[in-house]
Symmetry: C2
Subunit: 149 residues, 2 copies
Amino acid sequence: MIDPFDDSYFMKKALQEAEIAYEKGEIPVGAIVVVENRIIARAHNLTETLTDVTAHAEMQAITAASNFLGGKYLSGCTLYVTLEPCQMCAGALYWSQISKIVYGATDEQRGYNAMQTKLHPKTQVVSGILEQEAANLMKRFFIEKRNLN
Amino acid sequence: MIDPFDDSYFMKKALQEAEIAYEKGEIPVGAIVVVENRIIARAHNLTETLTDVTAHAEMQAITAASNFLGGKYLSGCTLYVTLEPCQMCAGALYWSQISKIVYGATDEQRGYNAMQTKLHPKTQVVSGILEQEAANLMKRFFIEKRNLN
């Protein structure tokens, strides 16, 4: 049987969030949190809008998901994020004990793999889902930004 | 000339925040942000109260300081925190480009040094200021917690 709710399905929802960030002039990263095929949190990067380096999509998604669940641990949840999490976000995900992280594009410079940040031992990771779509949106953003300056 | 505004002076203010956390049943960590000898942000751990793993004292202090300054970079600022920052908080401090971090007690298990988290190359670190006071407060918290359970 075909499962309509696969990783690509949910990553498309995260990409929609990234596009909203793009429209706002934010580095286009989007994230959602899913539990039993239901989206319980949607967020996009708002570091410029909120003038706050902590306002990454993942951080807001963790806070929103905890708020929805009424508990601070995200076991049983999956985070879909268009870009590989940074040290800060991976550190937050570590504390959350989230069950699964699915990310799109790799961040070779500031991603948690390059930075060697530790995730929780219970956390499973899948990477490269809709990688090109996420990477293309980032490229478009930085090309436009360069042309504006 | 004696400088009344030394690292111990400001760490005492961070310890006061940690004591407020203690009274609330939170792991007692406090943080303040200082710029030119003025405190522009005060915060304490609120992970239980807010049911949010991202609500560490440092995270809130960064957000509050950015709000005060109207800018997301904390160059020229010093963070005083009673406990060595974790991966998440060190990752946030990395993005903030903060000039100086002063911490009290070492966190040998989850501290950013043990976890090998990278700080911004511009960030100077001082450790061990009022270390015993901060460590004693933590010990008192965990002993009480154990006795209650």
